[in-house]
Symmetry: C2
Subunit: 275 residues, 2 copies
Amino acid sequence: MAPADPLPVTTPGGTRRERQREATFAEIVATAQALLTEGAELSLRAVAARMGMTAPALYRYVGSYQELVDLVAYEIDRQAAATFAAAADALDPEDAPGRLIAAVTEFRMWALAHPRHFQLVFANPVAESFCTRRELLTLATSGLLMTDLIHDVHRQRPFPIPALDELPPLVRDVVLDPLIPANVDHIPAEERGLVWIYMQGWNQLYGVVALEVMGHMDPRVIESGEMYLDVIRRFAPILGLDDDEGTLPRLLDLARRRIDADPSAIADGSPSHLR
Amino acid sequence: MAPADPLPVTTPGGTRRERQREATFAEIVATAQALLTEGAELSLRAVAARMGMTAPALYRYVGSYQELVDLVAYEIDRQAAATFAAAADALDPEDAPGRLIAAVTEFRMWALAHPRHFQLVFANPVAESFCTRRELLTLATSGLLMTDLIHDVHRQRPFPIPALDELPPLVRDVVLDPLIPANVDHIPAEERGLVWIYMQGWNQLYGVVALEVMGHMDPRVIESGEMYLDVIRRFAPILGLDDDEGTLPRLLDLARRRIDADPSAIADGSPSHLR
DNA sequence: CAGTTAAGTGAACAGCGTTTACAGTAAACG
DNA sequence: CGTTTACTGTAAACGCTGTTCACTTAACTG
């Protein structure tokens, strides 16, 4: 047992051997992700074969098949979140509402275009997954992004948020000290009602997108994104976006243009398992 | 090829052999369901073994493993829907709002108590499943129940529903002639806006419940049902349930009592895969 | 009764996650 | 330097999966 550094998430240095190990570890996750993206089934044997190894060797790096799945789920979420952030960054930094809608819409489009990835990250029964490293994994980095974007909207054009003593006591505890890793530390206590609003929004967004991805909805509604737009339309007032300056129509137009941008998503109405 | 009756869903008569066949078919589905309820993995071999048969024999009845899964999913949904209906029927027939909330709350409790069943029925990528018999399968019988209950609420204490020409054109087409099997035939054209409201409601309900079941939410919020109650609270006005006669508080109390009734659902905060 | 059809079996194929016992090799230590 | 230790990978095997194929056995049919 060497002194052993405290397990930094990404190990740049270390003994020559440790670097090699970290490299193949990364290759394993990358290979698994590639396999998944190609529509193939994710299996230890397939990953090993593609790397020119045998399946049991992988057990030197991951404890089980499930752990590998969790790892690529985390990785996929990380990359997807970057996509969402990029969609927001394509807009004027001053346009906080637009950035939020852009990111959220990008999330929806991503989910529809990559149903398997979506299910892996967002429709997976989290539990027991006390993953070795990266013990967060529980909640998505996407979540962190969304919290920030909503916070930005509030900072730029404040809207009423529930006071702490208006919230159910239990909810107050949760927003003050959330178990789920949301980086809300930079939100002052009196603004923590925002977190509850965020949860409500995420709840609604998740509902539509999940139903759409699973195909539990009329194909025409999915393709047109009408239900998704409806959710935005109904949630916007909560964020004070229903002003008299045409903000909401502009946002809806923004979303609609993004939706019409790639009709590829679900062509024939059957999401199916491919892509 | 005998004349062959037009495939009634449940074949009572027929040649003696056909009755036998239908019986073992039912036994297969029942056995599979039992296995699933016990927490065991669903597999053709396990089902066959429990029935005293071998796996290949099952292929005389189901075309593939996936088809068996679809069949038990349909069956589970059917039985669960009966539970929800029973919860509604426990109330005064005149109390349409109460019946709706009772059924919906029962749905949530059922989902939390049987996460695997929920995932099978409601979080399954529908697609390709052109099941031999019972070609509906696509959408849940639960859905039909909910539509009826909302319709009852509207019939008893009418609330404003969007006119057809207020709806986005595509949505209008959908509510007038839904692809997804909702028995909306008895709803007159001018009231078809109800269907859109139903979809909105189902969307929100699905969002909370799915997030709760998957564990993608703070355990304390799940256990207390605070987010679920919040969804009801926010959706009630749409159904005109926010009157001055204390209807909404009564409904919330109804739901809360049901929630507190069995704290068993998720004890330690980890839904896990059992039960 | 003879002929056809359906139900069920056993063996086999290809694949899966996982474990075990065993080589080789790179690092660490005296 | 040599020796020991720890690590990385392999081969073989176990038990499981869905699925197919050839074959028997029983039941129904003309």
